[in-house]
Amino acid sequence: MTTKTHGPSRRNLLAGLALYGAAAPLALNLSAIGKAAAQAVGPTAPYRALVCIFLQGGNDSNNLLLATDQGSFSQYWAARISGSSPIALMPVGTAPVAIGGTSSVTGVTVKTTDQTEHWGGVLPIAPSTPQLVPAANKVGTANQTRTFALHPLMPATQDLFAAGKVAAIANVGTLLAPLTKAAYQHPTATTQIPQRLFSHADQQAAWQSGQLDGAATGWGGLMADTFQPAAASGGDFSSITTASNTPFPQGAATKSFRVNFGSNKATAQTITLVAATGTHNESATFLTELRASLQDGSSPNQLVQTYAAAVTRSIQTSVVYDAAMSAAGGPYSSVPAPPPFTNPIAGKVADNPLADQLEAVVQTAAAHAVLGVQRQVFFVQYGSFDTHDGENGRQGLLLAQLDHALAYLDSALTQVGLSQAVTAFTASDFNRTFTTNGDGTDHAWGGHHLVIGGAVRGGDIYGAYPTLGVDRAASGSTMAFTNPDGAGTALVPSTSVETYMATMATWMGVTPAQMATIFPNLANFPKQNLGFMNA
């Protein structure tokens, strides 16, 4: 669809340039750092890691996890079949319609690969715990069991769900305390409503940290603080990110370590000298002075000090990390590369930025012993899921990438024996409006998420899937409709982000006492562990 994007690039400007002399002229105290890492105290074996997959921009999870029983799906259909480019996915069992064919469901002739008719019906999944159709979505009066499905471009996730490796969590969102629709719409003095709902920057921060835009620390980094009290030394790999500075991986003491990805190898960036055309770079004076100058924070100015400290940390950690990632036969080398990804919209083999990032995650996790850590948190993100328009093609591609990447993650972790040790989960700014704006959706609130891993009690949906439909008054022959879970076009969350995160933090070994510090609102919720993780 577009011009190139700037994730960390496969193209490294310095590739091919010979390093000066020994591989790392600026490395300082390499052995000392390795020793510090090895001596770090914290949880012991077995190794465990948590991977946050951030769906940047706000994923429309109304199209990720769907209720497909008649009453629910008719509400969904009514809300999404209108507009210039309808975003309603086809019912379970609908056959894909080839280009040029006409859909028997909508009567539409399919012209492009991003029309939902072209993809066929949503993919059914059968959660092990039945959920009843809520009253407002019932057809008739008898109790019915709700049926569910995934987006039609997520067949691998459907298989992983059936295999018990993927769980879905319904209607998760930012909350301070349990909140009803009535209380949200008519708050009293004691009603706690999260601030700045629907705002990207603030809700990204809230999902990652419980704070607003400007948050300096996040859930992952605060967890890492408890694993690795020695993190303040700076030579630590408890928290790894592939993104620029975001709250999730930052702790009070833990600083995230950013790795480059692509070209089938996770790498750090080590400051190197260009091969000399003359001999001047070999001057010992110059090398000594450059090393000192790069890290010279001897100024009263805090910006100078802060930059110098960032360079020092970069020099020290990148060398350790790259050593772990380049040792012949090192654990990273047994991690398979992602298989080719086919863009379902363009019909071509294409790069999958999420799979590339997860490859770097698995390589790093495989090298955890070399890096001297028993617990790690990871942060990866991709997008944009901010599908105000062109939703079908844009979200369709992104969810196909998610599907392909989750399948790769499962197989790569299994291959290196870390299936039980690594759990990945989705997070996103917010869900999007239940209704269409013609060819896309706007910002909303509670949404549905996926958790994957060998330690996940998969094959089930945790939390009550909400009633679907938008309130309306009676008009003519149309009956009034009231959705107890929906405020306008947004879902009021029934599960808080904090309980979602806390369930995984418990699995990571965070103690109840530490939990209260990391998740200040957790005590407000009656159920503090959602039960989707094995002990």
Binding site: S9, I193, F257, T277, T306
Partner: protein, 643 residues
């Protein structure tokens, strides 16, 4: 009253209510500290900086893409008043043939058009050559037509940054492009549309903020990026709502922000000490309605042209770079209430009649004007924009008083016209607090230089130029690399990762003394273990290679080598002359004694391997000395923090 996000977060917010919105409250202490230090500038008066190269360089390192020989000499001769006059003189006039921005000069778009023609001509020549070279009866070798990409936009960006005379305007455009953000990244903005966007920002950079908001709202780049294009009214459709993307971000990021501000940019607070929101979701929803019904230009508008991106155009007024047009039947006819004002619903004749369509179109345009006027006249805009411009040009943590003085100029204090961007920018650059900043001794003054400005600075001081400039009419850089990767500069024009730019105005580096002081440092959001090394490696490489990868943009370091070369050939190299030169252009004369001594050791330690070097060997050593010294300077934290 709703509670905050958690008890701790709530307490933090209350205690730093000022910083929450702007970051100005906590900085006031620093401002006091600065005022106690002997000011180097004093107050700027007519003819200030005349004869003072160091202060001229300091000023130009903020206002331009880097002080250099010619610009320092000019400013130190003319003084600031004449400099500002000369910078505004080459002003493109807003409101050209297309109504909202001028088609001429269309600097960047012209370049894209020219490069498109270049590539086509090259292709046709190659095709002919391949056909001629093919043996009879065989298929000629395959020839590929090179496509214009956003790298071609970067060619004209860098050319103007490094060699352009209108430095202040181009620098202002960079700043505006980080406040009103669109990006090639993840969008369908083409090189033509991005170049046209930059031309539009150039046309309005010294104009009025209200005109700029109009042009931004109706430019296809913003139309694509924040979904103004094809946003349809949903007056009688309970299943839909208009798209709220632009309505939200024009208020949150481009004009008024989330909280009510005092005139000095500090947040207003309620009786409980909590900041007061500027708007609620209902305001966004109704503003979204007011902005419905704008679509792509077409000579024959239809329901499809409303939202379908036109094919690539060929000239500067093709539909793909034309201001958006009204599609009256797609505009909401409901009454709208936002930011405390209410616009009535449409009450004219039915849109099924010709008169009705005309009346509805007038109503739609009135809705747009009312929306933008209402936002523009909100009291937050002056401090909001003033604070952001100060952060882009001068310092990350201005005092409330500084913000207040700039906001007053925005509000019309200097020119009587609210929203005068040139007057506002002049106030930013000539404020006493800016002139007296001393990062060398103040803990909090200054800002981390933007990566592209560091690169342009080195290019300007080194008098780098394009080798192909003579063969390509128009004189731009023929550049094949860009530096947006996190292993390079992690910044490239119009390639921000999202509408939130490369960095947020309130970002503060976790665990730093900056954070502990309650201050901010936006550019640090793009400085992490990967990017600080990427930047250092990039500079070490280009300095060593005397130019960019690809071999087009090169320098000979002629001035630097001249500084080292003694008058009498048998004398030692004049190290101090080179150090003085680096001090002037890179540090505005404020180089620390630590840096100066270090450079002295490096220059002395860079020697020829030959016992009795020949003149050619001595020349090589001088080049090596220059490169070693530049590597030290350009990668040092002292240089990277601008005073």
């Amino acid at each position: 009253m709703t509670a905050g996000l958690g008890g701790d977060a709530m307490a933090t917010e209350a205690s730093t209510a000022g910083r929450l919105a702007l970051g100005v409250a906590a900085a006031s202490a620093a401002a006091v500290a600065i005022s106690k230090i002997a000011p180097s500038f004093g107050n700027l008066t007519t003819g200030s900086l005349v004869g003072d190269s160091k202060l001229a360089a300091t000023f130009l390192n903020r206002a331009t893409f880097g002080a250099c020989d010619a610009s320092v000499a000019a400013l130190a001769t003319s003084g600031t008043d004449a400099w500002f006059q000369s910078q505004s003189a080459a002003a493109p006039t807003p409101g050209g043939a297309l109504g909202y921005w001028s088609a001429t000069p269309s600097f960047h778009l012209d370049w894209i058009i020219r490069r498109t023609a270049d590539f086509k001509a090259t292709y046709q020549t190659a095709l002919a050559a391949a056909a001629a070279a093919a043996a009879p009866g065989t298929t000629p070798a395959k020839v590929n037509l090179r496509k214009v990409t956003n790298l071609q936009f970067q060619e004209s960006f860098w050319a103007r940054a490094v060699t352009g005379d209108d430095q202040l305007r181009h620098r202002m455009v960079l700043a505006l492009s980080e406040i009103m953000v669109v990006s090639f990244s993840g969008s369908t903005i083409t090189p033509r549309i991005g170049a046209s966007w930059y031309d539009m920002l150039s046309a309005h950079a010294f104009g009025n903020y209200l005109d700029l908001m109009h042009a931004v709202t109706l430019h296809p780049a913003m139309g694509i990026y924040l979904n103004i294009i094809g946003n349809q009214q949903a007056d009688n459709d309970p299943s839909r709502e208009p798209d709220e993307n632009y309505a939200r971000e024009i208020m949150q990021l481009m004009s008024i922000g989330l909280y009510q501000l005092n005139p000095d940019g500090t947040a207003k607070t309620d009786a409980s000490g909590a900041p007061i929101p500027t708007y609620a979701h209902a305001d966004i929803a109704d503003l979204a309605k007011a902005l419905t019904g704008w679509g792509w230009y077409s000579a024959k508008p239809t329901a499809t042209t409303f939202y379908t991106q036109p094919a690539e155009g060929t000239d500067a007024s093709s539909p793909d770079v034309h201001p958006l047009i009204a599609y009256p039947t797609d505009h909401s006819q409901l009454a709208k209430t936002y930011l405390g004002q209410t616009s009535p619903g449409y009450a004219g004749p039915s849109a099924t009649t010709v008169a009705g369509v005309a009346a509805l179109k007038a109503y739609q345009i009135q809705d747009l004007n009312t929306a933008l006027n209402t936002i523009f006249n909100h009291p937050n805009v002056g401090p909001f924009i003033g604070y952001r411009l100060i952060q882009r040009f001068v310092t990350s943590n201005p005092s409330p008083a500084y913000v207040g003085r700039v906001a007053a100029v925005f509000n019309g204090a200097a020119t009587t016209a609210r929203g005068d961007l040139f007057a506002t920018l002049k106030a930013v650059l000539t404020d006493a607090e800016a002139l007296n900043l001393t990062p060398a001794v103040s803990p909090t003054a200054g800002k981390l230089k933007e990566p592209v400005v560091r690169m342009s600075h080195w290019l300007r001081v080194s008098a780098a130029a394009s080798t192909t400039v003579a063969s390509i009419s128009g004189g731009n850089f023929n550049q094949y690399e860009d530096f947006g990767s996190p292993t390079a500069l992690a910044q490239a024009p119009l390639e921000a990762p999202s509408v939130f730019n490369f960095w947020a105005p309130d970002y503060t580096p976790q665990g730093s003394s900056i954070a502990a002081a309650g201050l901010v440092a936006p550019e640090f959001q793009a400085a992490d273990v990967l990017t600080v090394a990427g930047y250092a490696n990039t500079m070490l490489q280009v300095i060593q290679n005397k130019g960019w990868p690809g071999g087009d943009v090169v320098t000979t370091y002629a001035q630097e080598i001249a500084a080292l070369t003694p008058v009498n050939a048998s004398d030692p190299d004049t190290h101090q002359t080179l150090i003085d030169r680096l001090n002037l252009y890179y540090f505005g004369g404020q180089m620390s004694s630590t840096m100066s001594a270090r450079l002295g050791r490096v220059l002395t330690g860079t020697v020829s391997a030959a016992r009795s070097p020949t003149p050619a060997q001595r020349a090589q050593v001088r080049l090596d000395k220059v490169r070693n010294a530049l590597m030290i300077v350009l990668t040092s934290p002292e240089y990277l923090v601008q005073g």
